[in-house]
Each structure stands twice: as structure tokens, then as C-alpha cells.
Symmetry: C2
Subunit: 631 residues, 2 copies
């Protein structure tokens, strides 16, 4: 096999409960059959009588399951999908030696999915783990890996997967128009067996690009008709299709704004077309001016999404989900939570995370994102926590055709934790990470301790040696790997720090761009005042002199110097800690990760030295501790 | 025809001298026949008797010609090639209405050529005028355009052309090994008719890449044999081949250093192989460390070429020409002349210029390079002027498949002037530019005045609004278009300014990297002392505080601000000047150039604002004249 099964490699072992010796009950749906198959493979039942694990399949669409003891039997009840999740949950607990089985569980959100930025030519936009396993040479492909991918997703509770890049180009445009229906149907069935729905990214301009119409205006009757007819044919041919993901009016792509219509009109056009087929629309809110003139000191990109979408609250059809990135800008290592996620009242929101580590080390650096997910889900806005207000979750996938799926073996923890937290946002990040570590590397406490420690520290270590204090965007333009402190400073993307020899940062409080008001009065005041603004986001919200005193008495500049020195030292220490696991983890994984760590350490030193040198050149204020900063 | 004939569009007109009515004499060589054909087409002779232009073809390899009156006849004497150059010279003078014909002329250098960076796939590295007309879809192609290109080259006195990119990759590797001999022979013959020799770029690693040998070590007998046999076959199949151009040990390419051998050993290996066939080797000196650590404050890229090649003076075979870029770094808008061009005593040097405007506006900006060529050719080193010491000249071509060949119509002046100056380095830049303007646009003095004025000011205008004072390298990494003041600052290319809030530049005098010593005592002292260093190169040679006083009393910083404001204003004025020519020049050319000027003005403003803002943010010292600088 040219790929690993990751956390599914490990099976229940040792003494199993008596009920594990026999499987009973009947299943009728593909998902129920998949559950049964997983149990057979993992438990290898050997008795025809006696205590049993009994599956009771119910009809319906639900995803929850119940699990009760009846004497020496264990009864697992649910729909086919419910049985599947119950099965994976049981197997996980058995593998981990966890004796407590839940009475009942059901997922927090009806949509828990991965967005693939895979292109038809087999490349992956912002992909760091090899080429696509969904597309090869212009065509969708389905094979054993598709099925095992679905198993991996189902095993952590995920139930959806958008196949293709939101930037729909080239041959991907034909996914909508029937050319690849056979392949899509096959992929849909294969994923569907494991409860994973198929989603497609579509181009808002499809009526023009594919339909031969002169416009894509949502008010044009011919456009409405084209979408309705196209969806009619597509959903009939691909029964497992759940709906569309749309990047409209975003980074050069067409959208309703092209025709002077609102985002709601655009989204509802598609929502109407998929509704007869039970479909939904995932409408991205990543709408901002990406041809900003850096000389324009008034526009603040952080404001753009809320300014565009908040006035439309209540205007979206009920089968529209607004897909909102976790922060207001773009997946930086630290951003405040997007105000859209806490302020919309009458709109379904889907939180979007990015497991693909575009700005967080590109799967060459360890950067465990479970703490980021938790931080966002647990964030309390004026009307409650994000996790209680959103209706769905998704993440840009970090997977590709590499043997280990995620480029960096430790990046698989992000995939795992995302699934677990999407199912149960109350799970603690540490639990998810520890589960993944034990399922992946077994129960040696030296391994578990070291790996979970590396993972749980990694985000904050990465933040310190790259861009601490919420400043963001000091990466190399285009590739987004490695430091370039002024790389975006005179560009068109609206991401500036405008550092001078005395100050750095954009003022986003009431005296500045007013962005903080988007959070409502209370949070707005907290972020807007320097004294109450959380320090880790200080430079996201405020423009400050380098001499500003942090709470611990250090100057802002010294804090940044210190963060780079300590972050880099910690990256070195993590690499050394990994080296202590030689012989305790499989050799191939050990060597792969060791190689990644070598690059991480090299890169961390580069970040440390570039950012520190750049600040030193700007200010000529030396490090108080006399460490080396290069002129 | 899908391309213009440029300056050859215009023919002699009005009353011609009596001898122009009849052509006489005999020609035997292809070049003699080409001369006769050019004369017939241009003069359309109509008499069978009476005064004549008589061609007298001599045997031999010379390129000079003599032109004498015998009564009412004009006698043009020379080899076939000599007749060709005499013919184009006569026709040019007739077209321009110039009554003085030279008695005799011959070119200053035996090799006057263009280097094409064309790839086999049809792309052109650093090409700004469309795709290659030498290659299409992996194969060399020959057609009418090939012949007209040869005519254009011959008409300005050029006699060589290297077909393919010095970075030899992909299908281009097969040019050496016989796969495309038929096509090369055809191209060679077509060019050869107009006296243009064919050169090929080859890979030093060819014995490995193509020959299946385990090494390309110049001391390995099998490697020597492989080159000898390969050259034997190739030169037999392609008789017009003149030799090879080689980029070795340069920017990641293999070379003799790969095997611990000297550049001389590498060059001589190839020189020996081509010698039996009368071939020569053009060996590039662009050897430097392109994986420099920016933290390494000791290495100075400007030193690298002289440090590598000067100790080898006298060791190169007599059919080796060292191809030396005009400056020590890489074709920036202003560099000092490379010390290799003035210090080598026993080695043939070929000066290399870059008409492809990689760093000088990419043929979207007007930047006439004739003044640069003259500056270099006229530069006086310890043992005489560059033009008297070099043995050959070449330039990276600025041509491609565009209708106007050079992207920007006015960039054709660079092609023209390079040819004229390569033939006669004593020609004044103004003369070459004025000739081109009149041949291209005719004799309206408003046009001639405006266009020559634009062209002759353009280099210095571009310099002011981009990177004045010799600092260089503030362009966007990779593309090299547009400003990025710190884009190369933490990169691996050895091109740093290390600007702080107080100082800028690299000290290359005796107190710094010692680069100035490469010029010998007298010039070294001149450049090494701040007071005698030419101001236009001040920041190339010295690290100075922004408060440094220039000769006119302004601070260094104010001078840079001023240069950006005035350079940009001058770019705007040039665009306006061009607009006054509407109706006076052909409409298609007018519109094409107007469009280019719109981009030049946009880009000049961007340069002005980015560089000024960057310096203002660094220093917080305002412009003394209160003009707008953006924070």
C-alpha cells in the first residue's frame, strides 16, 4: 500500500470484553454495512453464541447513536450513520483501553467537513503533502485510497468533503456540467458508504463560462433557469452530492457584486437551484478589496467581511451557510475571532479553519492547531460562545498523496483533532491530541508525553519565532513560507504594518479604523483599549511605539526580540526532544519527522534573525541581553 | 507579415546618385549574393549602361570594405561579408540623405553578437517581447522571420547569434547531440547568408546528462573524448556553427569547480574540442556564491568574478573569450565597469551587455541603453580604454515574437545602437540613436527631436525614479519588475544594502570589502575615497549616513527623495512629449508606445512612493519641500 492508515493502523488488542467475541443484529444501509465490516475487521469475532455486540439499525437521517449494556451484551443503536460513528467510537475506546463507553453521543453540527483545494490537473493550491488523490491529469479518480480516506474521516466523525479548489479553473469547471458525472457518482458512492457527503466548488460565473449565457446576473431569469436545469441534471446523476461551495467576489473571482447585486442575492440564487434536491450552499465570506493601494491609509481589510455581510443578516435562504474564516483576515498564526462568528443573529454560519498550514509552517514546521480551534470555538461573544452559535464547521484539508497523507507525520494530529472537535467542541484540545498520539504511536508514556508536549506547545512556539503579538503577514509574498518583514508592505493585499523607526502596527480602535466596534460595545471596548487588549493580539489592534511597556515591564521591542530568541530555542528543543524517541517510534516515521525538524530549526533561525535584524536596523536599539543580531 | 522590418522598412528615396541606376560586378558567395539582392530591392536599378555601383568581391574572411569613386561609378570592394556591410552602410546613408561615403570601414571586433535566452519550449528567460522565434514546442524552427532577423542584424553590423538560453535545460540539451542537426543546419545557413554565425549554449554537464558518462571532470580522458567526438559530429553536420557559449559554475549549474578544477581547465576542455573545427568558446564569468547567507557580512558578491578569474590570466586557450558582464554584479541601471574588463592582460575578453531590460523596465519602460554601452566602452582603466582592450562584444537580446520584435517600439533603438556601437565603438550614442529614429520614423524634425530627446534622457530618468546612486537591487525578487526595497535583503543572492535608520550601503573601499583595490591603485583610490568617488556610484562603493552632504549641499536622503520626485515627473513629461507626436508617427506605433508610457508612468509613481515611503519610515525625516510621502 502506498499510503499509511494513520490512526486506524492500531486495532483493539489484549483482553477484550466478552461482547466483542460475537457480532449480532442486522444492518440495511451502506453505512450500517460499513460499520459491521469495520467491527468484523477490528474485533475478529469468533463465537456463534454467548455475549454479543448487537447492532440495531434505525431508519432516518440522524447521526447520533446510543450504546447500552444489556446483561453481557452491548447494544449499539442508531441509523446507519449513527452505527458507523458508534462503531469508530467503540473501537477507539477499546484500542485506548478506555473502559467508559458513552450512553449516547451525537455530533454538535450537521455539517463537519474538509475543503480540498485540489485542482483537476492534480496539483493542490496550498497543498504541502504531495499531489491530489482526487484528481489526476484533469480527471476525478476513485480508488482504494478514496475509500480509506472516507474511513479516516468517518473514524473522527467528519461527514463531508468538498472535492475541488474554491478557485475553480480549467478542467474543474466541467465538474458542474456533466462531463465527469460517472466519476463523481463513483466517488460520491465511495465516500457515502462512510457517511461522507460529496460537495463541489463551483464558479459563480458558470452560466457564462459553461452555459454560454451573456451574464451570470442572479436576477436574470435565464441565469436562474440555467442553474436550476444544471442542478437538476447533476443531482440526478450524482445522488451523493450535498451542495456547492462558492468563492464569489473574492480575489478576482466573479460574484453578485459584478452585477451590482448583494451577496445574499448571489447565494440565494444557488440555494434555490439546489433546494429541490436537498442541497445546501456554502457561501464564503472572504470578500475584500484585493487590489488595495497601499497608499490608501483609510481602508482596513480586517473590516471588510463584517461590513459586507452583517447588513445582510436575515436575508439568506435557510439552506445557505456562510463560511467564515476563523479570523477577520486570513489564517494567520494569531488573529482575533471573526466578528461575523459572534454577531450574526439570523444567518447560519460555518466556521472555516485551515489545516493546510499555509501561514503556519506548511507542514514542514510542527504547528498543532487544536488550540486554535478551541480558542475560536470557546470564544464568547455578546450572545454566547462561538461553538454554540455556529451551525457547521469546515477546514481546508492538509492532506495529499504523500504516504503519510499530511507531509509531516505530526500534522496528522491536526486532521484528527479537527474531526474530533467538529463532532464534540467540548472536547479539550489536550484530549484530542493525546488520543491521536496514543492511537498513532501506542502507549509508551515516554512517547505520549514527548509527542503531546511537542504538539501542545508548537503553535505558541511557532508564533514566537515568526510573528508574535498578532502582527501577522511578515512572510514571503506568494509562497507564504519564510520571513519577509516588508514583503507585503507595498503590495495590493491590504495587509500592512507600516512600521517606522518608532512605531509598528495598525490602529484598529476607535481612534483608528474602528474595527473594534464590530465586536459590539463590550468586546469592542476591551480590544479597543490598549490596557485591556490581550497582549497576544496587541499589534493586531494597536499601533504602538517600540518603547511601549508590556505588562511585565519589558519594552515592546525587547519582548519581540525575546520571543524570537526563545521561540527559536524552543524549536531547537522540540527537535532534540523528538530525537530522544529514536527506537521508540517506527523508524520510518522517526526519520521523516527528524528531517522535517531539521528544516524547522533552520527556518526558525532564519525567522529569528531576519525579524530581529530588521527591527534592529529600523531602530538601532540593541538587545538588552546582548545576543547576536546581525546587521 | 506578422512582424515589422523595423529600420529596414525605410528605403532610399528622392533623387539618387547616378551610380544607383545600375548594378554591376560579380558576386560568388552567399553573402555577396545577399548584398546584391539588398541593393536590387532597395535601389531598383533601371539602366543597362552608364554609371554603376560596381561590386568587387574578394576572397577571404575579412569583414571590411572599401568604397571609392571611379568617375561616375562607385566601386564597393570586399569579401562577401564586406560587401554586405558596405551595402547596408551605403543604403543607410542614402536613406538618411548622407552624402559622405566612407572610403573604408571595418569592424572593431571579430565577434559582435546577440545572446538569446530562448528555451526549446518557446519561452524566453527574461524575454519581454513575446515568445521565441527560434524555437516552438520543443524544436528549433526556421522560416522567413529567421532570414529577416539575420538581415536586421547584418544591417547594423552584427555577425553572430547564440540561439538558446545559457541555462540549458529540457529539450535544449539535445541541440548538442544530433537530434536537431537538420534544423540547426537550416538556421545556420539562413543566418549565414547574412554573415551571422550560429552559436549554441551548451551545458558543461553534457557528458553526464547526454553522454551517459559518470563525470564531466575536464581531466577525465573519456570526458575529453566525448566532447571531441560530439563536436566532430556536430560541426560536420552544422557547418555554420561558430562555437559554444557556456554558463558554468554559475547559479546552480555544473562547472569545473564541481570537480575541483579551475575555470581555465573547464574552458580549455571545450576550446580543444572545437578548435579543429575553427570554433571558439565564450566562457561566462558570472561565477559567484548564489547561496550566500545574508548574515555573512564578509563576502562581497561584487568581488567574486575578479577574484575567480584574474589569477587565471594567461591560462586560457587562444580560442576562449571570457564573457564579462559590463558591471561586477548583474546589469543594474548603474554599476561601475567590471574590473575584469580593464585588468586582464593575457586573456581575450568579450563585454556582455543586456538589451533585454531585466532590471531596466522590462521593455515596458523606455530605457535607452546606448549611453550605458558608451560609458563602458569609453571607460579608461590603468592600461587603456575598455573599447581598445576587449576582443569581442555581445548583448543579451531584447527580441521576441512580437510584431515590433522588442515589445516596446522604442526598445528597438537599443538593438540598433548595440549593433552600430559593436561595429564602431567610436560612434557617439546620440548619433546611433538619431540614426535609428530617422530610419524608423522619418525626417520630421519634431519627431526626431522629441524621440531622440526621450531616448537620450531615458536611462537617467529611470535611474532617478528607481534606484539612484548605484545602490541597485530594490526590485521585486524573481520578476525584477517594480519596487521592493528590502526584497533581496535577507535572500541568498549577495545583494544587500543593509540600510538602518541612519545609514545605507555597503562599504567597498579599503575600510570595507576592499573591492576597490581590484581596479588597481589609481582607480581604486578614486573609488575608495568618498570625496573622489563619482556621485552617481556613491552608494555602490560606500556606506553613508543619510545626513551625508552631497556636493551640491543637499543631504543624501534629500537627494534620493528629490531624484524620485524629479525622475517620476520626467517620466510623466516624456509620456506627454510622446503624445505630441500623434499624427506624426504611424498610428499603430503611436498607440503601442502610448500604452507602454501609461504603464511606465504608473510604475514610476509606484517606485517614487515606495522608495520614498520606505526611507521616510526608516528615518522619519520629512522631505524638505513638503511633497507627499505616504506613511
Amino acid at each position: 500500500m502506498d499510503y499509511s492508515l494513520l490512526w486506524l493502523n492500531r486495532k483493539p488488542a489484549g483482553t477484550l470484553p466478552p461482547w466483542a467475541g460475537r457480532l449480532a443484529g442486522e444492518v440495511r444501509t451502506p453505512q450500517g454495512r460499513a460499520a459491521l465490516r469495520e467491527l468484523e475487521q477490528a474485533l475478529a469475532p469468533h463465537r456463534d453464541t454467548g455475549p454479543a455486540l448487537r447492532l440495531r439499525e434505525e431508519a432516518g437521517e440522524g447521526e447520533g447513536y446510543r450504546c447500552v449494556r444489556e446483561g453481557e451484551n452491548l447494544i449499539l443503536t442508531g441509523t446507519g450513520r449513527g452505527l458507523l460513528y458508534g462503531t469508530f467510537s467503540l473501537l477507539r475506546r477499546l484500542t485506548l483501553g478506555d473502559e467508559a463507553f458513552p450512553d449516547a453521543e451525537r455530533p454538535a453540527y450537521p455539517i463537519r467537513m474538509l475543503d480540498h483545494w485540489d485542482n483537476a490537473d492534480g496539483s493542490i493550491e496550498r497543498g504541502y503533502a504531495g499531489n491530489s488523490f482526487f484528481f489526476r491529469e484533469g480527471k476525478p479518480v476513485c480508488g482504494p485510497r478514496t475509500r480509506d480516506y472516507a474511513r479516516l474521516l468517518a473514524s473522527v466523525g467528519l461527514n463531508g468533503c468538498c472535492l475541488n479548489n474554491v478557485n475553480v479553473r480549467g478542467e474543474s469547471l466541467h465538474l458542474l456540467t456533466g462531463k465527469y458525472n460517472r466519476e463523481l457518482r463513483e466517488i460520491g458512492e465511495t465516500l457515502g458508504e462512510y457517511g461522507v457527503s460529496l460537495w463541489l466548488s463551483v464558479s459563480f460565473a458558470a452560466p457564462l463560462e459553461q452555459g454560454g449565457l451573456p451574464t451570470a446576473d442572479p436576477r436574470d431569469p435565464a441565469v436562474r433557469r440555467w442553474w436550476q436545469e444544471t442542478c437538476g441534471r447533476l443531482f440526478a446523476a450524482v445522488p451523493d452530492l450535498a451542495g456547492f461551495l462558492v468563492k464569489a467576489d473574492s480575489e478576482g473571482r466573479a460574484g453578485p457584486h459584478t452585477y451590482g447585486r448583494s451577496q445574499a442575492e448571489g447565494a440565494n440564487l444557488l440555494a434555490d437551484a439546489v433546494k429541490p434536491h436537498g442541497g445546501s450552499i456554502l457561501w464564503r465570506c472572504f470578500v475584500y478589496n484585493c487590489t488595495q493601494d497601499w497608499r490608501d491609509g483609510k481602508t482596513d481589510r480586517a473590516r471588510a467581511q463584517y461590513d459586507t455581510f452583517a447588513p445582510l443578516d436575515g436575508q439568506f435562504a435557510e439552506n445557505v451557510y456562510l463560511q467564515v474564516k476563523n479570523g477577520p483576515v486570513d489564517f494567520q498564526i494569531r488573529e482575533p475571532v471573526s466578528p461575523l462568528l459572534v454577531r450574526l443573529e439570523k444567518t447560519k454560519c460555518m466556521a472555516e479553519f485551515q489545516l493546510a498550514q499555509e501561514y503556519t509552517g506548511q507542514q514542514r514546521h510542527v504547528c498543532c492547531l487544536a488550540p486554535v480551534l478551541k480558542e475560536v470555538l470557546d470564544f464568547r461573544g455578546p450572545a454566547g460562545k462561538v461553538k454554540d452559535r455556529i451551525s457547521a464547521v469546515c477546514a481546508v484539508s492538509n492532506t495529499g498523496g504523500d504516504f503519510n497523507w499530511t507531509g509531516h507525520d505530526l500534522a496528522a494530529a491536526n486532521l484528527y483533532a479537527f474531526g474530533r472537535l467538529a463532532w464534540d467542541p467540548d472536547l479539550r484540545a489536550e484530549e484530542a491530541v493525546r488520543e491521536w498520539t496514543r492511537l498513532t504511536f501506542g502507549d509508551d508514556p515516554r512517547v505520549t508525553g514527548t509527542v503531546t508536549d511537542i504538539l501542545l506547545r508548537s503553535r505558541e512556539v511557532y508564533e514566537r519565532y515568526t510573528v508574535p503579538l498578532g502582527i501577522g503577514w511578515m512572510c514571503v509574498p506568494g509562497t507564504h513560507y519564510g520571513p519577509s518583514p516588508e514583503g507585503y508592505e507595498y503590495d495590493r493585499w491590504g495587509t500592512y504594518h507600516k512600521a517606522t523607526c518608532r512605531e509598528i502596527g495598525v490602529e484598529r480602535g476607535p481612534a483608528g479604523t474602528g474595527y473594534t466596534a464590530q465586536y459590539g460595545p463590550e468586546l469592542g471596548r476591551m480590544y479597543g483599549e490598549i490596557g485591556t487588549c490581550p497582549e497576544e493580539l496587541l499589534l493586531f489592534f494597536h499601533r504602538l511605539p517600540y518603547a511601549y511597556r508590556m505588562k511585565d515591564g519589558r519594552t515592546l521591542l525587547q519582548r519581540i526580540y525575546d520571543d524570537h530568541f526563545s521561540g527559536c530555542a524552543d524549536a531547537e528543543a522540540m527537535a532534540e526532544a523528538w530525537n530522544t524517541l529514536e527506537g521508540l517510534v517506527p523508524e520510518d516515521a522517526f526519520l521523516r519527522v527528524r528531517e522535517r525538524f531539521a528544516e524547522q530549526v533552520r527556518s526558525a533561525r532564519e525567522w529569528r534573525d531576519v525579524i530581529n535584524s530588521w527591527l534592529y536596523r529600523l531602530t538601532l536599539i540593541p538587545d538588552e541581553r546582548g545576543r547576536t543580531i546581525y546587521l
